[in-house]
Amino acid sequence: MVAQDAHDPHGNDPHGHPIHAHAAPTSFIRKYIFSLDHKVIGLQYYFLALTAVFVGMFLSLLMRIHMVWPGAVLPIVGEIKPETYLSLLTMHGTIMVFFVLTTAPQGGFGNYFLPLQIGAPDMAFPVLNMLSFWTTFVAFVVILAAFFVTGGAPLHGWTGYAPLSALPSAGPGEQLGADLWITSIAIFCVASLMGALNFITTVLDLRAKGMTMMRMPLTVWSWFITAILGLLAFGVLLSAGILLLLDRNLGTSFYVPLVVVNGQIMGHKGGSPLLWQHLFWFFGHPEVYIAILPGMGVASQLISTFSRKPIFGYKAMVYALMGIGFLGFMVWGHHMFMSGMSPYSAFAFSIMTMAIGVPSAIKTFNWLGTIRGGRVRFQTPMLYAIGFVSLFVSGGLSGPFLAQPVLDIPLHDTAFVVGHFHLIMGVAAIFGMFAGTYYWFPKMFGRMMNETWGRVHFFITLAGTYAIFMPMHYLGMAAQPRRYSQFTELVYLQHLLPLNRLMTYAAIVTIAAQFIFVINLFWSMFKGPKASDNPWEATTLEWTTATPPPHDNFGGKTPVVYHGPYEYSVPGAPKDYVMQTDPSTVTTH
């Protein structure tokens, strides 16, 4: 180590990272396509997710139409057959979970704003960052290819339960389509691992001087914890996927027991479908938090900023994030109460699952405590942050129902579960992304989004998503099964048809309203009013730099941090907010 000291005269360099490792690129390809700039990569992730969300939404629309008008002949797709319905379901789930909920909050916003918020010139490993985006892109292309091969897209749902997913003869979509599906997921795992590695190293090693861990914005904390979850979870999914590919193509029997398909004995013997479920859900449950934690971070950031109050219980928020992340690895079994697991295991998983209610409640009450007594500015980003809290509560409260084996067993394969996870994992996370988009748009593009249309979009989306997903709880309790393509022929479900029709109408309206958002997004990018450097009067580092930020983020300077991230309405301060970089000696705590 003497050698290293001899070579490193800045052993105690006052600046953590005085160097920007790469110069600003000039060619189009290096600037916008194979860019090393975390900001460009963040936008690439964002627009990939935006494309994916429209694909996923279109699939869900087809499903909802098919549910209530089963015989309808639709343009382009024609009549939807039961197996087509299962393909739609699988692809909707997979595209939404992986390429929207995992990609945009972490890869998109995380990439763009994590280095800015900790005062770094870029991510720790810019080349790895670029590779990670392009690997994700390849995964997306591979999964879309599954639509167009012989047999079509797979039928096994986003959870890919074996033996259905492991036997090519199990159905039309289970041939090449299923192979492409697994390959895509495996590629996505590699991409996410590279991303997680980069995020963790960046947070640990590239923080600006004075940016202690406990001065990091809660958004950074949420991206950090999410990256840790991804690092531990995606490797397990990768190994599970490799074994599934071996089962399908090389005759091994990890997941497939002795099984007869259409009177024919398959060559497999002795595998365990439960093994897949364990491995999948060991990844799958943390994945839920990978989707929602960044949303929590954004909600914390926005609620504090727009209430003009410090976040209520910053440390409690950090520890709650850690608690949720930690417990998230202990509860995978609650997805498997139906699998015939020992009641003792089920009990343990049930208790751990209920325990997640504690940190979740801490977060919720702290958000409410932050809003209470604040001078709240109800601008569009704040509306979405409040909407996030609302959906988190509505979707979260059905969690403790499903966490109990006795209640889960009757509710398990019903629309109740669909309503539960769509509210909390789907819509709440999407609201987090909307909040982030409206909030950071000025920083990303230098212009403001239209406020009026933002509000219109918010209220239609909030009412619409509740109208779609709230009734699912009642449908589930009335025993409407999930994953059934045609339930209208079942006599005992006939009376649920009107409610299902209402949900389909709500879906059509809500999906139509998303075009308001997209038009607002692209129109504002070119025609919106110019934004100042700090339009929301926020305190974190991204608002100290130019709009949009220069290639090295802070224009050759390294910010020095003197304050925590949420110092609003500090008594004695000249303004109602104190920037993190403000060196003035206003004593806060």
Binding site: H7, I19, H20, A23, A124, H278, K557, M579, D582
Partner: protein, 257 residues
């Protein structure tokens, strides 16, 4: 952009004395980091970034990456243990039987491979120390009039590459041997796991080998020794880790049959 900064000057008073053109990053053409009151900043005189810091950062990245790798082997181990204890429905009798065949491993050959890998771990460590010393002395050589003489360095890096290739060849021979003994990938769940675990390790090691080859290649191209030092250092730690993983995999397959 500059006007943007000015609008905030009431709150932001930390401005570095050496404000550069905001569009230009550091690292090109001898730019120095803006270190107020910092030392002379001797970086070998080529304007390259701070190597000590880059080394630390790359090591940290490696450590984080190894966690992901570990999870891969952890989950394969879980599959191994779980599948081993699982009875199977027999299609002839209709009863449950234990179908976990004990794989007859070519232990002697695997022991030789283990020895080769441990040897390569030693040589890669020697290579790492050698290049650390070279990197430390590199700035001296740029001082005019200072000569530390041309010393002959044993090619530890090349030796490691050869030993690594020998190990992979040995593993290939072990698979051939397994095949000759009647254990193929799909023969039994136990043989499937033998192939999966050893192949996962071999692929990891082959990755490390490619990086070492890259380091050898850049040595021939006279890249800055500090750059190569980071590559060799991090790969050496990775290599040690892979040696430990191999001993673990071997012990698992040997003792938990």
């Amino acid at each position: 952009m500059v006007s943007g900064m000015a609008s905030l000057s009431s709150t932001v008073t930390i401005h570095d004395p050496a404000v550069k053109d905001p569009k230009t990053g550091y690292g090109g053409g001898g730019a120095r980091p803006p270190v107020p009151g910092g030392g002379g900043g001797d970086h070998g005189g080529n304007g390259s970034p701070d190597y000590g810091q880059r080394l630390r950062r790359t090591r940290l990245g490696l450590l984080v990456g190894l966690v992901a790798s570990t999870m891969l082997f952890v989950s394969f181990t879980s599959v191994y243990i779980m599948r081993r204890g699982l009875p199977t429905l027999d299609d002839h009798t209709g009863g449950y039987v234990r179908d976990w065949l004990q794989v007859n491993l070519p232990t002697g050959l695997l022991l030789v491979n283990t020895l080769l890998l441990l040897l390569s771990s030693i040589t890669v460590e020697l290579a790492r120390r050698q290049i650390t010393r070279q990197a430390a002395l590199a700035p001296l050589q740029s001082i005019p009039g200072v000569s530390i003489g041309k010393e002959w360095n044993f090619p530890w890096l090349g030796t490691t590459v050869l030993l690594g290739l020998a190990f992979l060849t040995g593993q290939w021979m072990a698979w051939r041997e397994l095949g000759m003994r009647g254990f193929y990938l799909a023969t039994s769940p136990s043989s499937s796991m033998v192939y999966v675990l050893t192949a996962a390790h071999a692929i990891h090691l082959a990755g490390g080998l490619l990086v070492l080859l890259y380091a050898v290649a850049t040595a021939l191209l006279h890249k800055p020794v500090e750059d190569r030092r980071i590559v060799v250092d991090v790969t050496a730690w990775y290599w040690h880790f892979m040696a430990v993983v191999w001993i673990y995999v071997f012990a698992l397959l040997e003792f938990v049959r």
